[in-house]
C-alpha cells in the first residue's frame, strides 16, 4: 500500500540545515499495523506528516497505492488525503465549537456525502465507539478518553483505508489508553491499515511491526506477528 524509498526531508533556515528524514525506505502492506518509535526529535512525526500527505518531501520516492505521489501538489494531496486517510492526534484536536456528533460528521460534509447518509454513518460510528450517548455534548464536557474516542470516530467515519495515529494515548491514563488501543486493533482487524507513532513500548506491542528511528534514519525493524491476510486494495482516488 505504501512504499517509500530514500525519502528525505530537510528543514532549512538562513543559518542551519536540519535533516529530519535521511534517505529512509520501508514498505507498509495493506491491513498492516505498524508502530514507529524513537526518541523525541528523531523525525517520526515528520515522517507521519509526510505519510499523511500533510507535508511534502525533499527527495526520494513515495508510492501510495501503486502511484508515485512525491511530486503531488497540495491540492492533489488534499484530495487523496480526504478520501483515504484518517488522523488521530495525541491532543485529540476536536473542534470546541462543534458537538460530538458534528465533529464526527465534519469529514463527511467535506466529502460531500448526502445528509441522510451522513446521519446513518455518524450514528453507526458513534455506536461502534460507544459514545452515542454523548453525541450532543461539546468536547470540553468529555473526559480525555471520551474525547479520544470521538477523535477516533471522526478518523474512521469516512471508512478510510489508512489511519495515522500520532501518539494516540499520550494524553490518556492507562485505562483509557488501553481502550483506544483496543479500538485501533479492532479497526485493523477489520482491514484498516494503521501507522502509529508512539513512545510507548506497551502500545507498540499491539502492532505487527515496529520501525525504530534515530536522527531521521530507520535503525531497526522488528516483526512482532505476521499479517494473517492481505485484504483487497480498494483505495478511493479521484483518478
Amino acid at each position: 500500500m505504501i512504499k517509500i524509498t530514500d525519502l528525505e526531508k530537510v528543514y532549512r533556515t538562513d543559518l542551519i540545515e536540519t535533516v529530519a528524514i535521511n534517505k529512509m525506505s520501508f514498505e507498509v502492506r495493506q491491513g498492516e499495523f505498524v508502530a514507529i518509535m524513537g526518541p523525541s526529535g528523531c523525525g517520526k512525526s515528520t515522517l507521519l506528516n509526510i505519510l499523511g500527505l500533510l507535508d511534502d518531501c525533499d527527495g526520494g520516492s513515495f508510492i501510495f497505492n501503486g502511484q508515485e505521489i512525491a511530486h503531488f501538489n497540495e491540492q492533489k494531496r488534499a484530495m487523496l488525503r480526504k478520501k483515504n486517510i484518517g488522523f488521530v492526534f495525541q491532543s485529540f484536536n476536536l473542534i470546541d465549537e462543534l458537538t460530538v456528533y458534528e465533529n464526527v460528521e465534519l469529514p463527511l460534509i467535506y466529502n460531500n456525502i448526502k445528509p441522510a447518509d451522513r446521519k446513518i454513518m455518524v450514528e453507526e460510528t458513534l455506536e461502534k465507539m460507544q459514545i452515542m450517548h454523548r453525541k450532543s455534548h461539546f468536547p470540553q464536557q468529555l473526559s480525555g478518553g471520551q474525547q479520544q474516542r470521538v477523535a477516533v470516530a471522526r478518523a474512521v467515519v469516512n471508512k478510510p483505508k489508512l489511519i495515522l495515529a500520532d501518539e494516540p494515548t499520550g494524553n490518556l491514563d492507562s485505562h483509557n489508553g488501553n481502550e483506544v488501543m483496543d479500538m485501533l486493533t479492532s479497526l485493523n482487524e477489520a482491514g484498516t491499515t494503521i501507522i502509529m507513532v508512539t513512545h510507548s513500548e506497551h502500545d507498540a506491542k499491539f502492532s505487527h511491526r515496529i520501525i525504530r528511528m534515530l536522527d531521521g534514519e530507520k535503525i531497526t525493524e522488528n516483526i512482532l506477528r505476521e499479517l494473517d491476510y492481505i485484504p483487497d486494495v480498494d483505495l478511493k482516488s479521484e483518478h
Binding site: S45, N49, L54, A78, K82, D96, E97, Y110, N111
Partner: protein, 786 residues
Amino acid sequence: MIKSYLKTAWRSLKRNKLFSGLNIFGLAIGMAGAILIAILLQHMLSYDRFHKQEDQLFMISNRDKLGGDLYTWRYTPKILGSTLASERPEIQNWTRSRTGQSFLFTVGDQKIQNKNGNYVDPGFFKMFSFPMVTGGPNKDWDAGTGIILASSFAKALFGRTDVVGQTIKLDTSSLVTVSGVIKDMPENTDLKSDYLLSWAYANRFGEVDSSWGNNSVQTYVKLQKGTNLSAFNQAIRDVTKSHRDDITTEIYAEPLKNVFLYSEQHNGKFDSGRIVVVRCLAVIGFLLLLIACINFMNLSTAQSERRAREVGVKKVIGASRIRLIAQFLIESVLLSLFAFIIALGIVLLVLPAFGNLVETKLSWHFGWTGWLIALAVMVITGLIAGSYPAFYLSSFAPVKVLKGSFVRMGGKISARSVLVVLQFTVAIILILTTIMITQDIRYVQNRDTGYNQSELVFSSLNGNLRKNYPALKNELLSSGAITSMSRNMSPITQRFSDGWGMTWPGSNKADEKTDFVRYSSDADMVKTMGMHLVKGRDIDIYKYPGDSTAMMLTQSAVKAMRLKNPIGAIVGDNDTKWHVVGVIDDFIIEQPFDKIQPMVIEGPDSWYSTIHYRLNPAHSVEQNLATIKQVFDKYNMDYPFEYHFADDTYATKFKENKKLGQLSMLFAGLTIFISCLGLFGLITYMAETKTKEIGVRKVLGASVAGIIGLLSKGFVKLIIISFVIAVPIAYYIMHRWLSASTYSISVQWWWFVITILIAVIIAILTVSFQAMKAARVSPVKSLKTE
C-alpha cells in the same frame, strides 16, 4: 453546509464573548454613523428632486464681470421671465419667485406674523409638484386679491383647511380671499412657503418694475422635453444685453436639482457650497465604515491563534481553503448582520437628536431600494471586514499549527500595526479638523465688527410705525428705556441691497462695475450702533433738513472711490445725487468670514425697514423691554411687539460652521471610540499571549510599571507613526479650508501638540487597564497558565 457554517460561526461568537462584543459593537457604531450620514445625504441630495418634471425644470442665472472678476448670481430682472417666454419656444412654463413680506395675517382675533411666503406666477402651479388640497389659483388669485395657504398655516389661522373664499387681513388694511389650500411643502425644497401670492398683489403696491438693471427675483422655466441645454443657453445668452445696451450681463439656465447643492460660485460658476459638505460627509461616512472594518480585521486576526487549530484540523480532515474562506466570510457577514441590527436601533434612537444637531427634520424613508442598498452595504461591509481574516486564517499550514509551531503574525511591520496606524491616522486628522473649525470660529467671533452689539436691539418698521415713528422715538427716549434710536434699511446683520453704476468725483468707466453695499439712516446711526466716526458727522435729518440726500461712506468705500477729501463729494446712485457728510470705520454686515465690502449709507431719500435702538444700561434689560413694549403697542397696536438682539442674530452667522464643527467633533469622537475598542481588543489579546513572558520577567525582577510600559509602548509608537502620517494630510486640508475664507485664523503649531497629546493619552488610558491587570498577575499563576 451553510447551516454548519452558521452554527460554527454562532458558537464561535458565543465562545469569545469579549471579542465578539467588541467586534459587533465597533462595527455597529461605525454602521450607525454611516447610516446617519446616509440619511442626511439622502435629504440633501433630494432637494427639489421630487417634482414630476424635474428634468425639465431650470433656474435662470446671471453672469458678468465685476471689478475684473467673473461672477454669477441667481437674482434676475422681474421682466426676464415673460420676455424669455415670449422669445423662446422651448419654454413651456415660467415663474418668478421672491420672498414675500413679513405680513401680519389677521383672521378675527387670530394674528400670525413671520410666515414664509413667495410671490409667484401662475406657471408655478404647473411646473412644481405641490398638490392642492382644495381650490387653486383662480381669478381672484390672478388679480392679486386671492391667496393660497399651506394646509398647516390654514389650520393655524382658521382651525381647518376647507377655507376657500374666506377673508384674511394682510397687515393693517389689505384684504385677500383664500383661493386654495396647498399640501404642506416638504422640507427638501428651496421653494418652501406657508403662503403664495401672485405678482399682481405686489404690483398693486407699486412693485411694477420693467428695469433690466434691477435683479430682484428668481426666474424658473420649464423647457420642452428633450431640449438641448447647451443650445438653449447659447440662444438665451445675450437676451439681457439685447434689451439694454449698457448692460454686459449674460444669462444661462441651470438644472433646478443643482441649485441647492451648488450654492456658492467661483469665477462665474456655481461649483461649490453644500456639495462640499455632501462630499465631506460622504468621505467621513466611508472612513467611519472603513475604520470599523479595520477594527474587525484587527480583532479577528488577533484571535488567529485561537482559530489556528480549528483551521488545521479542518484542513486535515478534508476542508479545502475555499471552504474555510467561505466559512470565515459567512461568519463575518453574520457579525455584520448583528452589527447592522444594532446600528438600526442606535439610528432610531439618535436620529431626532442628530436632526437637531444638523437643524434638519430628518426622517427615515429608505423605500425598498434604500433597504436593498443598506443590505448590500451590510453584506459588503461583512465581506470586506472578513476578507483579510478569512484569507489569513485559511492560509495556515495544518502541519505547523497542529505541531504547535504556528508562528504569530509578526515581521517588521505586521499587518495589524498597519491597520492600527490607518485607524489613528483618520482619527488624528478628524481631531485636527475639529480643533481647526472651533478655533477658526472663535477667532472670527472675536473679529471687530465695527459696531457695539451689546444691548443693541432691532425691530421691524411695520404697520403704523412708519407713520408714528417720530412720536415713538420721542416717547422711548423720554421713557429712559433707550439711549438712542435710528431708522435703517435693514437689520445691522443683514444686507438688503447692493449695486454698481455709482459715480463720484474722478470715477471712470471701469468704476461703474465696482459693487457697493447700500445702507440707510435717518439719524443717530453712529451713536445707536456704537460705530466709529472717522471724519465729518453722522446723517441727521432732524438737525439738517438737507440730509435727505446726505451720505456716509465707510473707509473701504473711500478707498474704492480713491477720494482724498470725501466730505462734500457728490456720489450718484439711482438717479439721486448724494452729498457725503461723514466717513465711518468699516463694519461687518454680511459674513464675518468674508472681506468687508465698500459701503454707502444713504439718507432718508432711500428707504427703511428696520428700527435699531440701544437699551439704557442704567436699567435691566427686562425693565427696558417692558417699557419699550408698552410704547410699541401704543403706536402699533395691530402688530405684536417683536425684537431681536443684534448679538444673537450675529451669532447665527456661525451656525453653519458650528454645525460642521459639531459634526466633525461627533465623528472624530466616534472614530476614536471605535479605534479604542480595537486597541482594547488588541491589548487584551497581547496580555493573554504574553502571560508567560510577563511571568518570567516578573520572576527576573521586572516592576509592574515596567510591564505596563512593555505592553503599552508598542501602541504609543503606532500612535506617533499615525501622527506623523496624519500631519501633512491634515495640514493640507486645514490650509485649503482656511484659505477659502478671507478672514480666518492661520494654522497654529499648538493644535498639533494638543492632538498628539489627546491621541496618546486616550491610547494609554485604553491599554493601561488591561496592561495593569496583566502586570499584576502573580508570576506563579502566569507561569502555571502557560
